[in-house]
């Protein structure tokens, strides 16, 4: 059995609710959909027990009603585990993961600026990457956003 398959089995053994939600896309690539409420437990287990010490980045997605967030974790042997959570777009609140990955701070700030995520527990700091005078409520990576609409609005 390959390392990836072993990790998949460990995850399923520990969290029965992940049944059918962990897929091995190819060698070294595992993807899993995780319920929001159980995310902290899965992340802690993956980072500490399954030895995923690296957070490559966090991808934010606009999926219509929801925002999706993918936490791309990696092991020293190159296996990556991509944990995805979904939250409702009208209250897109998630917890910071800086307690597990201090380097996540800048990736979380990017989610705040570009997708309008609310990150609970993220410490005060400089925004990234939009300018200080950027209008409130404008999230460029949302699908209904475009630069022209913002320009027209400013021209009014």
């Amino acid at each position: 059995m390959s390392t990836e398959e072993k990790i998949q089995q460990e995850l399923l053994k520990r969290f029965s609710f992940l049944d059918g939600k962990v897929r091995l896309q190819r060698a070294k690539r595992l993807f899993a959909d995780v319920p929001l409420d159980d995310f902290a437990a899965v992340l802690e287990y993956a980072s500490r027990e399954l030895r995923f010490p690296i957070l490559l980045t966090i991808t934010g997605l606009d999926e219509g009603e929801d925002l999706g967030f993918i936490y791309h974790l990696a092991r020293e042997d190159g296996v990556t585990l991509n944990l995805k959570i979904n939250v409702k777009k009208d209250g897109p609140s998630i917890r910071t993961v800086t307690a597990y990955f201090p380097g996540a701070e800048i990736y979380e700030r990017e989610l705040v600026d570009l997708l309008g995520a609310r990150i609970e527990g993220l410490r005060e700091g400089e925004r990234y990457p939009l300018p200080d005078g950027w209008p409130q409520g404008q999230y460029p990576l949302r699908k209904d956003w475009n630069a022209k609409a913002l320009k027209d609005k400013e021209a009014e």
Binding site: R29, T57, L61, G103, Y107, L130
Partner: protein
């Protein structure tokens, strides 16, 4: 209690790209540092969603002028995985050859910048002169010094002929000689050793917790390298070592980059000697089946990460880019604290930052601005008038300089 707070940047004394630091000083010591980025945000991820995959390839290649091949390859690996394409082995080898030549020109560029930042401009002149050798080779192979355009979905666009391969080997031989000389300089020249040792200290533990990448991580004893850990292109079939160092400072980062050059030459020679015969590319579909893929690549500055989500059309649903500098920049504030202000330029330069890569996304002009191109003569007249209106008259100077 700190005496003074100063902003440094976004127009920065050490680097040619904008970023801003706020430093709290007590005398000459930096007590606190914070970093503000985003000045180069150009909207590339958003723009990718509105363009076809092949258009995106050329856009993504322009995320960065130095590691352009890194970004285009990283993006294509994800797209090719989604399309179920396996690129020909010859194409994989060519991608690795270009990738290593790119690393060579990037590391030589860095060596010059590092020399400049510590007042050792002879090193800048030497290393940039040598860098021309590799840039000329890249131009011969691809038609360009940077932004090579060698990649296409399913493979590469240009072959490396046997004659060209011989030219490359000749260039690599010359570069190896020079690199060995630089390593000797780095090991023996007190100017470098004393100026760089103990500066920009980053412990192994800090690298692990902040997730630093590339030579910055490897110089603190963390031997992570995607070429070994998650091989792509032809790296799985090539023999090379991951260089690490335990100095944990700017001196260590210098040694790591110099020794990595030797590994790159080794890789280039092997890849050219053992290049498999065969076609350069497989045919790619216009529409890419729905799915998602994560791609990793060891760029000169560290790991580059791309995530692509497709929806069955000819345009991606989402393209996400994490350039290596974003992973490294968080270590800078830490490295500056409790150090002298004069160390700041070299500490920042030592992660080999690239802010164009890091800030990929948006610029909105407030008002429509007209672009105008000025001819040399017009510019000269404009300059003379500008000074004359301020009471200085240059117009009577005899300017015999022919330009």
């Amino acid at each position: 209690m700190h005496d003074i707070r100063i902003p440094v940047g976004p127009q920065h004394p050490a680097l040619k790209e904008p970023e801003s630091f706020r430093l709290a000083l007590s005398g000459e010591k930096i007590m606190e540092a914070s970093v503000r980025l985003g000045y180069n945000h150009r909207g590339i991820e958003k723009a990718c969603e509105e363009r076809t995959y092949i258009q995106d390839l050329y856009l993504i290649e322009r995320i960065c002028g130095i590691c352009s091949h890194a970004h285009s390859t990283c993006f294509l690996q994800a797209v090719e995985e989604l399309a179920g394409l396996e690129i020909p082995r010859r194409a994989a080898y060519i991608r690795s050859v270009i990738a290593e030549l790119e690393r060579v020109h990037s590391h030589l560029l860095w060596l010059g910048v590092a020399g400049h930042e510590v007042g050792f401009d002879t090193l800048l002149m030497y290393s940039w002169k040598d860098r021309e050798i590799v840039l000329d080779l890249l131009a011969q192979m691809t038609g360009n010094r940077v932004n090579y355009g060698i990649n296409t979905i399913g493979g590469v666009r240009r072959d490396i002929s046997a004659a060209l391969a011989r030219e490359v080997i000749k260039g690599v031989d010359a570069l190896e000689k020079r690199t060995r000389y630089y390593i000797e300089v780095a090991k023996e020249e007190p100017t470098l050793i004393n100026r760089l040792s103990g500066v920009g200290v980053l412990s192994r533990q800090d690298v692990l917790s902040l997730g630093a990448v590339g030579p910055t991580a490897r110089a603190s004893g963390v031997g992570r390298d995607v070429r070994k850990d998650d091989p792509y292109a032809a790296y799985g079939e090539l023999d090379f070592e991951v260089i690490t160092d335990k100095h944990n400072d700017v001196y260590g980062r210098t040694l790591v980059r110099l020794k990595e050059l030797l590994e790159s030459y080794k890789i280039i020679r092997q890849a050219l000697d053992n290049m498999p015969e065969g076609q350069l590319a497989v045919k790619a579909p216009r529409n890419i089946p729905a799915g998602e893929a994560l791609s990793r690549y060891e760029a000169p500055r560290g790991e580059d990460v791309h995530y692509v989500k497709s929806n069955g059309t000819d345009k991606p649903d989402r393209v996400k880019v994490r350039a290596p500098t974003l992973a490294n920049i968080q270590t800078v504030a830490l490295m500056l604290e409790d150090r002298y202000l004069a160390d700041m330029p070299i500490v920042v330069a030592a992660i080999d930052p690239c802010f164009s890569c890091t800030d990929r996304m948006i610029s909105l002009k407030q008002k429509r601005q007209r672009r105008r191109v000025m001819r040399w003569e017009e510019l000269r007249v404009y300059g003379i008038e500008w000074y004359r209106s301020r009471g200085v008259d240059f117009s009577r100077l005899n300017n015999s300089l022919k330009l």
